[in-house]
Every structure is written in structure tokens, then in C-alpha cells.
């Protein structure tokens, strides 16, 4: 009979210990709040193994933001009005460099700079640009323009620009100037064939500034709410909005799924243990493990990525099994510390295989995977130590009483034939799936990075649609031009741009956006300067050209002054450009460790580019999707190698732990069959495997090993055996339930992890339960 006094003392100690641990956990949580949590796309950015990788990751994380907006609903005049008021609100934002609904106006500094240097910058000048006939034609055209409505604006410019060079400059700086023009409405605003008014907003923030993009989106929505016309809506896209939507989606989904999974597991544990304090105690090892993992990872890597924390939390979640074993496997009359001491070698052996798996992944060159590996390895290790030395202080005196589980085992016990068939089916399944997969030539590996993307197909379609409507470059195709100096880069870019013009004329290219159309290389600038005649000769040319026209040649003195200044200024080099020059959709050459580089964006359709464009030393054609696929495949292969090494070390650990190869193989057989069956099943149903499936397999092995180790002592008549069944069953139900909920996610990464682990855990449980029946056999 239990001493009531002792029970009361134990209860007080448990309560005290629980309170202390919860307080320490909160303290650790507060410490972890100071950890730098990264949320950008650097999760995927490696210490670039190749030059192409570096370009990919630079494009993923550092591109300037743009917002493409389509206003839909109601009629054209109402859309037009909304478009104008949206522009006004957006222009006032510090996040916005320029907002346009019908053309790109340069900021005054850039415009003045281009105008001041118009004889060396901009499109090619005709060889006879300064001939009498050309200047006379220019003056006559200018006089005609002076007589029109725009003449009032033009009359101050005309004396400076009788050749019309300024207008040529303005047209060449608009995005898509090398493509078919964007469709317009009768008021000159962009309006596509679907009847949507379009806006292009060039942002001053880069594409991974999620908060900045949220403010821009808020302004766009607010401007529609403020409009008198109800019924208008806006579709917005751009690289930063993908990240914003992904962030919102991940948060919303994680919140909902965590709530459902937590609620379901809590209900399950409550129904089995009938004590809320058990619930709290079971959460402690995972909590300590996770927070320690975050702190150590942050210390090693300098920061922790949000995605690594999410995945790490899921991985460390396997540690929930330790307290379940401690409670369920406690023998009659045994102290809680005694149980911990007795079970520790088995728990440690299971944890060691998990630890080794994660530790090898921490050596990955994929920083995201390395962080997940580190965080999980530390988490599991700390959770194990906590369960052994501290958890017994706060564990209540409870045993498992789960009727549904008992009923399930009784059902199996009563039907020996079903058990036998079930066993053979489970053993034969992987072979069946492998045969089907081989016959149907099912794809095993998924190299398409888009399948890992959190962007929905609708969102990707909208982006392509808006890009096409606004004639903007498809950011996945571009040329990288390199050189030892900025001048070399501009020279090579100029040459390749001339070839692109020919390819475009042949119809194999929709267009391009090349800075060399605005900033020609020094050699081209020098040629232009040589074309400019001496000022005295030009003065005489003007006198001849204005003969018979209603204007004195002296009026054009500002033109002569500009030309003289251009001649004396010489060529403009990239490094001499003022800092505040900003031309939408174009970037200046950038200096890196190994020289200079610049980008020429290509506008769809991008058919096969000829060899004289791509097979040039200085030029590299970049297809981001292809590079991304290569990177995904490379990381997966590296992950496979590391997992192979981890499996070998895990096997060695198991051989030592079980004191023999045969005993070790017996333990490892179940998780191996579970992994093989799950992998083959996924491939057969058309879900090729990716890096995150591999991560899930590590977890399945860890779970399977745990079931095998703790079910090993099962004898149907023995009390210990019944406890062991209850314990493994509770572990399986909590894991299976949590991952099944995760498997309903619409996010490919979470779905892959959830379904794989849920299926792997189910197979491991069934294989364990059915396999041991064969050896001992229930009576």
C-alpha cells in the first residue's frame, strides 16, 4: 500500500521541479529571442560552389524590387481614375523609386544627366547627324512641333536641341523599348487585351525586404478602398511579393497546422495518461532540446534561419518519445530515477543513431541543411540528457491506459491469419512498388526547384501574365557579361547587344534590356565624339541649314555650347558616373573579387540563342531554372552521400550497442523496410523525391529504431511486454498524428515531410508489432 504522506511529498517535489523547469525554459526562450533569425532566401544560398550558383543566389536575394499591378473590375474610366490615384499615393512612399501607369519618366537628375551627355550616350547617331541636310530637317521638324500643343513645352528645349536628340534619348530609356509596345487605352495609359489597367512600380528596396513589400501592397489596397468606385480589385506581383505571400502563407498554415497537431496530440495524451501535468512534463525535453539547438546553431553559424527552426522543431519532436517511455515502462515498485537509469542505455542507443544521422547532415555545404542537422543533433542530445537526469523530478505517477490501443492489439491477437498476411504484405510491398516503378519508368528524383517553391501555381501564372503584358524581362533568362574592367564589360556588352538586335529581328528573341543602349562603351563614345564637327564649322552649318527658315542661326547658341561641352568632356566611364543615376530595369556593372560583371536581361520568347551570342568568352547565358535544378540535384547527391556515411556510423553504433552484427541488423531491418516502402510508394504515385524527403527518411529511421529497441522485450504474457507495447503505441500515435496533420499542408516542403514521416512511422509500427509476434508468438 502506498504511503499517503510520501505521495504528498512526491507531489510537492514534482510541482516544484516542474515550476523550476518551466521557468528555466522561459528564460532560455527569452535568450533565444535575441538570436538573429533570418527569414530571407539565404536559406538556400550556399557558400557558392560555382560561379553560376553565385549568380543564382544573388538573383534570388539581391534583385531590386518591382511591383507589377493590374487593376480589374468595373469599367475603363473607373480603372483609369483608380490607377491615377494609386500612382499619387505610391510616389509618396520612400519604398518607391518610380511608379508609372503609362510610361517611364526618369527622375530629374537622371534626365538632366542624360540630356547633358546626349551626344555620347543613348542610341547610335547617324553618320550624317551634323550635316546641313540633317540639321535643316531637324529644325523644320522642330518648328512644326513648336506650332503644336506640345510646342509650349518644347520652345525652351528647341534652341538646345535642333537635331531632336533629346526625344531619342527619352524613348530608349523606357523598359521594353526593344519590344512590341505595351498596349494602351485611349488616354495613353497601359491597358492590356484583358481590359486591365497596368502599373509598373520600381522599388527602392530589394526583393527580400518583406516588410517593405507589405507596406507597398497595403498602399495599393488602400488606394482602391479610398476610391469612390467599389468593385475594383488589384492583382500584384513581383519577386518580393512572392516572398511576402510565402511568408504570410507559411505563417498562417504553420499556425493552423501547429494548433491542430498540438490539440490532437494533447487530446491523445490526456486520454491516455489522464493528467495535464504529464502533458507539460512530456513537452519539457523537446522544449529544452529545441532552445539549446537554436542557441548552439546561432553560435556556430552567426544566425538561425526560420525554416531551420521550423524543421528542427519537427525533428527534435521525436524526443517526445523519451518521457512517454519513462512513464509507460516504469515497473511496479521502481523509482522514477530507477526507470530512467534502466532505460537510459536503450534510449541512448536510439538517440545515438538519430544524433549521428543529424550530425552528418550538419556537414552539408547547403547551409539550410547544415543548420537543420546541427539544430536537430543538439536538440536530441539535450533532450536525452534532460530525460535521463532532470525529467524524473517532475514526472507524475501515471501509467498508460489507452483502450483503443488495447482493443487494436486484442483484435490482431485474435486473428493469426490476418497477422501473417499483414506481415507478408508489408515485407512484399517495397518489392511490388519497386517493380511497378521500374516497369512504368517512374521518375525517382525531382530536380525542379519550382516544386519546392512556396509560390502557388496561380501566383506564378499571374507573374508571367503581368510580365508579358508589361513587356518586362523574364528574370530567369539573362546574359552575364564579364571583364577585367568596367570598360571591358561595357565593350563586350555593346558587342553582344548588337548581335541581340539581329536575333530579335529574326524573331528568336522578344527583346532585351541592355545598359549599353544607353551607356555605350568608350570606343563607341569616341567614335561619336569624332563625328562632332568643330564648333566654327557647326556654326556655318547652322547658318546654311536655317537659310529661308523663320529662325536666326544665333538662336542655336545653346546647342553650340552643349556640343562644345560634349567634345571637351570626353568619354563617360562607368566609374565616373554620378551615384544618383538610376535607370529603371537596368543595373550598372558591378565589381567583384574576380573582375567586373554586368547583366543583360532577355525578354520572352527566348528561343535558342545562336552560338555567336552564347559562345563568347566574356558572355555567359544564364537559365536560372536550369542552374537551380543542377544545384538541387547536387545538394541531394551530397545529402545522399552524407546519409550513407551516417548510416554506416549508425550501424557501427548499433553493432556496439547490441553487441553483434545480427542483433544490430534485426533492429535496423524494420526502419530500412519502412524507408524503402515509403520511398518506392512515393515514386510510384508520381511524387519524385527531393532533399526534404531525405530529411524525412532520417527521421523515419530514427523512429523505427526507437520502436524496435523498446518493443524488444515484448512477451505477450509479461507485464513488461504489455508496458512496452503501450509505450511504443503511444509514441507511434503521437508521431503519426502530428505528421499526418503536417502532411495536409499545401506547402510542398511541409507536405513532403509530413506524408513521408507519417507513412514511415505507420509502417515501422506495424512491422515492429507483427515481426515480434513471429518470434515470441502470442498465446
Amino acid at each position: 500500500m502506498t504511503d499517503p504522506k510520501k505521495c504528498s511529498t512526491d507531489g510537492r517535489i514534482q510541482f516544484f521541479a516542474l515550476s523550476i523547469f518551466v521557468c528555466v525554459l522561459i528564460g532560455l526562450g527569452l535568450m533565444a529571442r535575441n538570436v538573429d533569425v533570418a527569414t530571407d532566401l539565404t536559406f538556400f544560398a550556399p557558400g557558392a560552389q560555382t560561379e553560376r550558383d553565385a549568380i543564382l543566389f544573388q538573383q534570388m536575394s539581391k534583385t531590386d524590387g518591382i511591383a507589377m499591378v493590374a487593376i480589374t473590375g468595373l469599367n475603363a474610366p473607373q480603372q483609369r481614375k483608380a490607377s491615377e490615384s494609386m500612382i499619387t499615393l505610391l510616389q509618396a512612399m520612400p519604398e518607391v523609386t518610380h511608379a508609372s501607369n503609362g510610361g517611364i519618366d526618369l527622375d530629374s537628375k537622371t534626365y538632366n544627366f542624360l540630356v547633358d551627355h546626349r551626344y555620347v550616350l543613348g542610341p547610335t547617331m547617324a553618320a550624317d547627324a551634323f550635316s546641313v541636310s540633317n540639321i535643316r530637317a531637324g529644325i523644320q521638324a522642330g518648328l512644326a512641333q513648336l506650332g503644336g500643343m506640345s510646342g509650349y513645352m518644347y520652345r525652351d528645349i528647341f534652341p538646345r536641341d535642333p537635331t531632336g536628340r533629346m526625344l531619342e534619348m527619352a524613348h530608349v530609356t523606357a523598359p521594353g523599348n526593344n519590344t512590341k509596345k505595351t498596349a494602351r487605352d485611349e488616354a495613353g495609359l497601359w491597358r492590356d487585351a484583358q481590359g486591365r489597367h497596368l502599373l509598373l512600380v520600381v522599388l527602392s528596396i530589394n526583393s527580400n525586404d518583406i516588410a517593405g513589400h507589405a507596406r507597398v501592397l497595403d498602399t495599393i489596397n488602400r488606394s482602391l478602398e479610398m476610391s469612390d468606385a467599389q468593385g475594383l480589385s488589384a492583382v500584384v506581383s513581383g519577386p518580393g511579393f512572392f516572398a511576402l505571400n510565402a511568408s504570410k502563407r507559411i505563417r498562417a498554415e504553420m499556425k493552423m497546422l501547429t494548433l491542430i497537431a498540438f490539440g490532437a496530440v494533447a487530446l491523445l495524451l490526456l486520454s491516455a495518461f489522464r493528467s495535464p501535468s504529464v502533458l507539460l512534463a512530456i513537452g519539457l525535453p523537446v522544449g529544452f532540446g529545441l532552445l539549446s539547438g537554436i542557441l548552439v546553431t546561432s553560435w556556430i553559424f552567426g544566425n538561425v534561419h526560420g525554416v531551420a527552426i521550423t524543421f528542427g522543431a519537427v525533428m527534435v519532436g521525436v524526443a517526445v518519445d523519451y518521457p512517454i517511455h519513462l512513464i509507460s515502462l516504469r515497473a511496479d515498485g521502481e523509482t522514477k530515477y530507477g526507470t530512467a537509469r534502466r532505460l537510459f542505455p536503450t534510449m541512448a542507443l536510439g538517440a545515438a543513431t538519430t544524433f549521428v544521422g543529424f550530425l552528418t547532415l550538419s556537414q552539408s555545404s547547403f547551409p539550410g541543411l547544415a543548420q537543420i542537422g546541427t539544430l536537430s543533433a543538439v536538440g536530441v542530445f539535450v533532450a536525452l540528457l534532460f530525460s535521463r537526469f532532470l525529467l524524473p523530478w517532475c514526472l507524475p505517477d501515471r501509467t498508460v491506459d489507452f483502450r483503443i490501443g488495447r482493443a487494436f492489439w486484442n483484435l490482431l491477437g485474435a486473428h493469426a491469419q490476418v497477422r501473417r498476411i499483414g506481415r507478408w504484405v508489408l515485407w512484399g510491398l517495397p518489392l511490388v512498388f519497386i517493380v511497378i516503378g521500374t516497369v512504368t519508368s517512374a521518375r525517382i528524383w525531382d530536380n525542379d526547384i519550382r516544386n519546392l517553391s512556396v509560390a502557388s501555381k496561380t501566383q506564378i501564372h499571374i507573374d508571367q501574365d503581368l510580365r508579358s503584358a508589361l513587356r518586362l524581362p523574364d528574370v530567369s533568362h539573362f546574359l552575364v557579361v564579364r571583364g577585367d574592367s568596367s570598360n571591358d564589360v561595357m565593350e563586350a556588352q555593346w558587342q553582344v547587344t548588337q548581335k541581340l538586335k539581329q536575333v530579335q529581328a529574326q524573331g528568336a528573341l522578344g527583346g532585351y534590356a541592355s545598359l549599353s543602349d544607353i551607356l555605350p562603351p568608350p570606343s563607341a563614345q569616341r567614335q561619336r565624339l569624332e563625328m562632332i564637327p568643330d564648333i566654327d564649322i557647326l556654326r556655318q552649318t547652322l547658318a546654311t541649314a536655317t537659310a529661308g527658315l523663320p529662325i536666326d542661326p544665333g538662336v542655336f547658341q545653346p546647342f553650340l555650347d552643349d556640343v562644345a561641352r560634349a567634345k571637351s568632356s570626353g568619354v563617360l566611364e562607368v566609374e565616373r558616373l554620378p551615384q544618383n543615376i538610376k535607370i529603371p530595369m537596368m543595373t550598372l556593372p558591378q565589381r567583384s573579387d574576380d573582375g567586373w560583371s554586368s547583366i543583360v536581361y532577355l525578354i520572352a520568347p527566348v528561343a535558342d540563342l545562336p552560338a555567336d551570342v552564347t559562345n563568347v568568352d566574356e558572355v555567359t547565358f544564364i537559365n536560372l531554372r536550369q542552374i537551380a535544378s543542377d544545384v538541387v540535384a547536387r545538394y541531394r547527391n551530397e545529402g545522399l552521400r552524407l546519409m550513407g556515411f551516417g548510416a554506416f556510423v549508425g550501424m557501427v553504433v548499433m553493432v556496439f550497442g547490441r553487441r553483434g552484427v545480427g542483433a544490430a541488423l534485426k533492429v535496423l531491418l524494420t526502419p530500412m523496410i519502412a524507408v524503402a516502402t515509403t520511398a518506392a510508394f512515393l515514386v510510384v504515385i508520381g511524387t519524385p523525391l527531393n532533399l526534404f524527403h531525405l530529411l524525412a527518411f532520417v527521421l523515419v529511421v530514427s523512429i523505427g529504431v526507437d520502436y524496435e529497441l523498446f518493443f524488444a522485450g515484448y512477451r505477450v504474457d509479461a507485464m513488461e511486454g504489455a508496458h512496452s507495447y503501450n509505450s511504443v503505441m503511444m509514441c507511434f500515435l503521437t508521431t503519426g498524428l502530428a505528421f499526418a496533420v503536417l502532411g495536409t499542408s499545401s506547402l510542398p516542403l511541409l507536405r513532403a515531410l509530413g506524408t513521408t514521416v507519417a507513412m514511415g512511422a505507420t509502417l515501422s509500427f506495424l512491422l515492429t508489432v507483427l515481426r515480434f509476434e513471429r518470434e515470441s508468438g502470442p498465446t
Binding site: 503609362g102 510610361g103 534652341p159 488616354a187
Partner: protein, 188 residues
């Protein structure tokens, strides 16, 4: 200086109101223009620019329908302009579209306000920008419009309208820099 100018305008307005005592008032003129239903007119424009030796002459049609003012120049070079609200839209033959906010260009702004008001017969918008001074009588009238907004006054001297009954015959825009534009309106 400003006080003197305003005083002069006040005197002129007072004189005008006496001179127009034969019931030919600004409101009557507005009504007459409204009744004339002349939403589309042909014009010949003489643009005098200080640095040109001779005026630039252009011809074409102006039209004000559904809130959109259109100006089609037929000679010397075919061109089409549209003004919607405060935006001047000009398309060239290469499909390049230029959109200009006319509020940034006082002369164009004043011309647009004037044309809209006269062609529609609604003078209320005119009063937002100009002090109106009407002289003459129903058969030969002249309305001088002095800008009273700071922006217009910085570049514009006055806009003068002349006409016969409900028919506008001439618009003259005098700028402070000496340039001026005279538009002769040819009614059917």
C-alpha cells in the same frame, strides 16, 4: 505693384459692368455660348515666339465631347492631341505616347481651361483661375481674362476672347515673355 494692378482690374471691372448694362453680361454670354452648340470648330493658329522671325501658322479642328478636348492639326503637319482631365496625350507615328500634366505648363493649362469653358458654355471653372472682364455688346464682344492664381500669373499676362453673339471668333493668349498666340475660330 500688386495692389495697383488689382485696383486697376477693379476699376476696369466696375467700368465693364456699367458698359455692359445693356444686359450683355458674362452669364448671358455663357448661356449664348452654351446655346450655340458649337462643340466642334475649325481654327487657324498664329504662334508668335520671340526667337522666331515669323509666326508659326497651323490649321485644324478642335472638339470637346464627353469631357475630352481634342485638337487635330491638319497643316503644316498632321498631329493629334487629346486632353483628358489634366493630362495632355500625344501619340506619334511610332506608337510612342507622351503624357504631360498640363498643370505644370501654365500656358497650355490656361488654353485648355478656356477652350473647355467656351466650347461647353460653362464659365464656373474659368472663374477659379481668372478674373473676367467683359466689354462690347452682343454683336461684338471681348472678354479679357486676367489670371489670379500664382502659377498662371508667373507666366501669363492675359487671355482675350472675342466673338459675335454666341459665336467665339478669336482667342488670344499673351505671355509675360512676349510670346503670344492668336487662334482664329471659324464657325460654320
Amino acid at each position: 505693384m500688386t495692389f495697383g494692378r488689382n485696383a486697376l482690374i477693379a476699376v476696369v471691372i466696375l467700368w465693364t459692368s456699367v458698359a455692359s448694362a445693356d444686359d450683355w453680361t458674362i452669364d448671358v454670354l455663357a448661356t449664348a455660348l452654351q446655346k450655340s452648340d458649337a462643340h466642334q470648330v475649325a481654327f487657324t493658329e498664329y504662334r508668335h515666339i520671340s526667337y522666331l522671325k515669323a509666326p508659326l501658322i497651323s490649321q485644324g479642328m478642335m472638339d470637346f465631347t464627353d469631357g475630352v478636348l481634342r485638337k487635330d492639326i491638319i497643316a503644316p503637319k498632321s498631329e493629334h492631341f487629346e486632353i483628358r482631365e489634366n493630362v495632355l496625350i500625344h501619340s506619334d507615328n511610332d506608337d510612342n505616347v507622351t503624357r504631360i500634366n498640363i498643370e505644370d505648363h501654365p500656358v497650355v493649362h490656361s488654353l485648355v481651361i478656356t477652350l473647355r469653358s467656351v466650347l461647353s458654355g460653362r464659365f464656373a471653372p474659368l472663374r477659379d483661375y481668372f478674373n473676367l472682364v467683359l466689354s462690347g455688346n452682343r454683336t461684338d464682344w471681348e472678354m479679357v481674362m486676367y489670371p489670379h492664381t500664382e502659377k498662371l500669373r508667373a507666366s501669363l499676362s492675359a487671355v482675350t476672347l472675342r466673338g459675335i453673339g454666341g459665336r467665339l471668333t478669336e482667342i488670344s493668349i499673351a505671355e509675360l515673355n512676349g510670346d503670344n498666340t492668336v487662334i482664329k475660330v471659324e464657325n460654320d
